[in-house]
């Protein structure tokens, strides 16, 4: 598997989230992902970027286009923030659970919208979430 395109961006305000959504959509359109795939990944990107902004106090995202040896294409997003971290990841993934005033569906929903979902977080150490969607 190789990374054919890679591009980093910061998430410091809501405009950055809008830009990320557009970036993800454009990339996926160019790579030939279906409209449903595009919409799912754009929505997950929106959720995770907003989490990084609201709960992580801002962060960064790495957008990567992956090519597998068998020709399969994927899009990977790596979100990183240096916020308070997540104490109980299982609880955070539970639908309806929120420490803010959202719907509490963003994290669990993002997991369902992507093919691979990885959280690396502990209290005080920030959060790193990697999601991938394959074509």
């Amino acid at each position: 598997m190789s990374v054919s395109k890679s591009d980093a961006a910061t998430i410091q305000n809501t405009e950055d989230i809008v830009r990320l959504r557009q970036r993800v959509r454009d990339l996926m359109k160019n790579e030939g992902f279906s409209l449903v795939d595009q919409t799912k990944m754009v929505t997950a990107a929106s959720e995770l970027a907003r989490n990084a902004l609201v709960y992580g106090g801002g962060g960064a995202v790495l957008v990567e286009v992956l090519k597998e040896d068998n020709g399969r294409t994927g899009l990977r997003l790596i979100f990183e923030d240096h916020g308070p971290g997540i104490a109980d990841i299982d609880q955070a993934l539970t639908d309806g659970f929120t420490t803010g005033n959202g719907l509490g569906l963003g994290l669990g929903g993002s997991k369902r919208l992507t093919n691979e979902f990885l959280i690396d977080s502990s209290p005080g150490a920030g959060t790193r979430i990697t999601v991938t969607r394959w074509m």
């Binding site: 754009v42 929505t43 959720e47 959202g102 719907l103 929903g109 369902r112 919208l113």
Partner: protein, 288 residues
């Protein structure tokens, strides 16, 4: 340092015309020349004026800091050129090249100086490079600022372009939503819907999201809150225009609109609202 500065300003004053001609011909021969955006006469005028100000400022003997009052004129003129060029569609490279291309003619004249040892020459070139680089960076910064102003203005315009609430029938309002819904615009749009419900005494409000690209949890939350508020005011909401990819995404995300009626198209929503109001659309009977 003062000796170096003095030497540079001497060269600039004595050879101003030659430097100007060299600079201008250099710009005209350059690949980054944009005669489609700026005419030769205009370029000549801008270059002449900039060089005049530059030479005058250099006479103050302070070539190390362009933020001093002596450089006010240069900075202002450069800013005005950059702003107008940013609006005309110049690229950052093309904008920076304007100042940077002054280096070549200036350095050639420094080299032709007689009786200068190589150490002094290097010092002079270093000072001049440093000065011109600073001006180039300033023009890039201004370029950036100019672009940001354009973006900000466009954002403001978009905000004002907020979606109108349309009266479809007596008692039926339609709010066609377009674009992204997590901006400040959403709040304005939602407030205008509630105000229109009050003003028209409408019983049904159709929120059409055909033009919405993606519905994430924040957008869903905005919609849910608006619908709850509308309900408190005695109006029912119908959501229409949920496209297949949005429907699938919402199911995976786990968001729904609860008890609220949703329809695939605006036409279906309108038919539904007629039904609720007890209205029927019928074809006029053919006259026998």
């Amino acid at each position: 340092m003062i000796k170096i500065n003095k030497k540079i300003s001497e060269i600039l004053t004595q050879h101003k015309n030659e430097i100007f001609e060299d600079w201008l011909s250099g710009q005209l021969a350059s690949v980054s020349l944009r005669l489609d955006l700026v005419s030769e006469t205009e370029l000549r005028r801008q270059s002449q004026e900039f060089l005049n100000l530059f030479v005058t400022a250099s006479l103050s003997s302070n070539l190390q800091d362009i933020n001093t009052p002596e450089w006010d004129g240069v900075r202002e003129y450069l800013t005005s050129i950059t702003y107008s060029r940013a609006r005309q569609g110049f690229s950052p490279t093309e904008i920076a090249t304007f100042v940077l291309s002054l280096k070549h003619p200036l350095f050639s004249h420094l080299r032709e100086l007689s009786g200068v040892n190589s150490n002094d020459l290097i010092d002079m070139i270093w000072t001049a490079t440093f000065l011109i680089d600073k001006l180039a960076l300033l023009s890039i910064e201004n370029y950036q600022r100019g672009r940001e102003e354009i973006i900000k203005r466009q954002q403001q315009e978009l905000l004002e372009l907020s979606t109108p609430v349309v009266k479809a029938w007596d008692g039926v309002l339609i709010l066609p939503l377009i674009g992204t819904l997590d901006s400040a615009r959403t709040q304005i749009v939602m407030e205008s819907l509630l105000q229109s419900i009050l003003d028209t005494g409408s019983a049904i409000a159709i929120i059409d999201i055909t033009g919405v690209i993606s519905v994430d949890t924040l957008v869903a939350q905005h919609l849910l809150k608006t619908m709850a508020a509308a309900k408190l005011m005695g109006a029912q909401c119908i959501i229409s225009g949920i496209r297949p990819q949005i429907a699938q995404t919402m199911v995976h995300l786990g968001v729904g609109f609860g008890e609220v009626a949703t329809k695939a198209s605006l036409a279906d929503a309108l038919a539904e609202s007629f039904k609720r109001l007890g209205l029927a659309v019928i074809k006029p009977q053919a006259r026998g």
